[in-house]
């Protein structure tokens, strides 16, 4: 059923509930779309179904324990929050970490970016009906998690970062296998990128929707690939280098149009950059100390910044001289990126909303699932499956209009 077939007058406003649960992603958040016909006129987010109180929990743990707690903020960004906290504490202490530790942080950070971006590419493919992309991307993601496990002992949560360095070493005996995995991944991603960028149906489907202008990006504080796709040249790894990024050769990817297609391009090209960064790190990693040892934490405050897969992560740390933080403020990138839906989704049709919401890679199990449209009689008219089908139907219709079968085996 499409939204236009249900009986109602033009100008009739309805509210569509999206969320709050979806098994693909890790945390719940709900959206209320107000629609007029097929056009979205207002978006409202319903947040924090499982507020975990991590900021307060961190204030009840020692500096050694906090990074391990912060890994549990997110199922994907486990390195992000623990290293960002360490950056904040090291800003408070005004210390430099040993070179080997900074290379290890770079390697695990980039492995995390790799598997996070590949996860997004797969999900985005699914929402618009390219399930082949979904299968490919998630198949390529597996070896990245395997390398993460070989080097750190766990597929996601490494528990490596501590204030002043890293807790353990990563075994060099696994470096050859890690290099081979990167070589294979590079070829696969090159093929995937070319297939996605050259597909005329995908370009017709994704160009010009969910556009954020550079001014909106700055006003709403949008960060990461979502900002870079709008031509805003910001990347903490280059702007305020932490870990080993200053010593490596890599570039910040930006594009100009700010639509969903460009956000996909930025992420796909960033995957190639991450592979290159990991290869360089595996070559250049120096020996030496892993951490600075026990540190006395003085009174004061520090701010840490970190480029997470989704954008800039900020931690504010305030110390009262004891062994536990007095206050820790965590701002994850999705907090600002998700707020920008209020501009990126307005004026889009319902069929484009799932992919527009997904385009900033929101770190909640938010964007899609039990969508229920209630008709005038109160009976549901749309389910989540209907919404995904709407999105996929639009891709199929576009392909037919263009007189071709979609190049990537639609559904």
């Amino acid at each position: 059923m499409s939204a236009s077939t249900s009986n109602r007058t033009p100008g009739d406003r309805r509210v569509i509930q999206i969320g709050p649960f979806h098994p693909l992603l890790e945390e719940p958040v709900g959206f209320e779309l107000t629609v007029e016909g097929e056009k979205v006129v207002h978006v409202d987010a319903c947040m924090e179904y499982i507020h975990k109180g991590i900021e307060r929990l961190a204030q009840e743990r020692t500096y050694d324990m906090v990074p391990i707690l912060l890994e549990k903020i997110c199922g994907i960004c486990s390195v992000t929050h623990s290293v960002c906290f360490c950056n904040a504490a090291e800003d408070l202490l005004q210390v430099e970490i040993p070179p080997r530790a900074s290379y290890i942080r770079t390697i695990i950070g980039e492995l995390e970016r790799l598997h996070s971006h590949l996860l997004w590419v797969g999900l985005a493919g699914h929402f618009i009906g390219y399930n082949t992309v979904f299968m490919w991307a998630w198949k390529y993601r597996e070896p990245v998690c395997d390398v993460f496990e070989m080097l750190t002992g766990h597929r996601q949560n490494s528990s490596l970062p501590i204030v002043g360095g890293v807790r353990r070493d990563i075994p060099e005996s696994y470096f050859p296998e890690a290099r081979r995995a990167m070589d294979r991944l590079d070829e696969q991603v090159e093929m995937l990128t070319a297939a996605v960028l050259d597909d005329p149906v995908l370009a017709a489907r994704l160009k010009g929707i969910g556009v954020l202008t550079p001014q909106e990006v700055v006003d709403w504080g949008v960060v990461g690939p979502t900002a870079r796709a709008s031509g805003v040249d910001t990347d903490v790894r280059r702007d305020e280098p932490y870990a080993a990024y200053e010593e490596l050769d890599w570039k910040v990817i930006t594009t100009e149009n700010g639509d969903v297609f460009d956000k996909a391009v930025v992420r796909l090209l960033e995957i190639r950059e991450s592979i290159s960064i990991i290869r360089q790190c595996l070559e250049k990693i120096p020996g030496g100390e892993l951490n600075l040892g026990q540190q006395h934490i003085p009174r004061g405050e520090g701010i840490g910044r970190y480029e997470a897969p989704r954008g800039e992560d900020i931690h504010y740390l305030r110390s009262n001289g004891t062994n536990m933080p007095e206050r820790l403020k965590v701002r994850a990138p999705s907090f600002t990126n998700v707020a920008s839906f209020e501009v990126s989704c307005i004026g889009e049709s319902i069929a484009d909303v799932t992919i527009t919401l997904a385009a900033c890679d929101p770190c909640y199990s938010c964007t899609e699932r039990t969508a229920v449209v209630r008709g005038v009689d109160g009976r549901p008219t749309h389910t989540f499956q209907d919404l995904v089908r709407l999105s996929q139907d639009k891709t199929r219709a576009l392909a037919r209009e263009m007189g071709r079968e979609p190049g990537l085996n639609l559904l």
Partner: protein
């Protein structure tokens, strides 16, 4: 731009109205009175390209409830923190969300977690907590976690 340079420029533009410390060349902390928030913010936004709100921290201090706005600059290793202290027991500060939309959610969060009133906020609705907990401020000092857990059953009807 280094933090000490910016601190000096701010001081000459707002004589006796700002108090700044630079903990390093990358971090500037500026203490201001609540009434100075808008003028200082406007000055910074006009004079620094790429100036945007990173986030804000609400913190319960001895002298009042602190609202620290952390601004970052695209393309630069600089974080400028504007510190505003609102007096207890009825803390209120001007809302930055009236100026920039990126402050909307974080001010709604602080309002709920610490009971701060943001004057002029365009959308001061609940963001995080259930209605049943609207009079509880978990990030205030003296918040009793155990008593809170025990009272959940009385407040929420599952």
């Amino acid at each position: 731009m280094e933090s000490t340079d910016l601190g000096k420029r701010l001081e000459s533009a707002f004589v006796d109205r700002v108090e700044w410390t630079a903990r390093s060349q990358k971090r500037l902390y500026v203490s201001i009175a609540p009434a100075q928030l808008y003028p200082v913010f406007d000055w910074l936004r006009e004079n620094i390209p790429g100036f945007r709100l990173g986030t804000s921290t609400g913190i319960d201090l001895r002298e009042g409830v602190g609202v620290f706005h952390h601004f970052v600059v695209n393309g630069m290793p600089l974080v400028v923190t504007l510190k505003v202290i609102a007096s207890k027991p009825d803390p209120r500060v001007p809302s930055l969300a009236a100026k920039i939309p990126s402050a909307r959610w974080i001010e709604r969060e602080m309002a709920e977690m610490l009971g701060i009133e943001f004057e002029g906020h365009p959308d001061p609705r609940r963001l995080l907590k259930a209605e049943a907990f609207s009079d509880i401020y978990p990030q205030r000092r003296g918040f009793d976690t155990r008593a809170f857990k025990e009272s959940i059953g009385e407040r929420l009807d599952f």
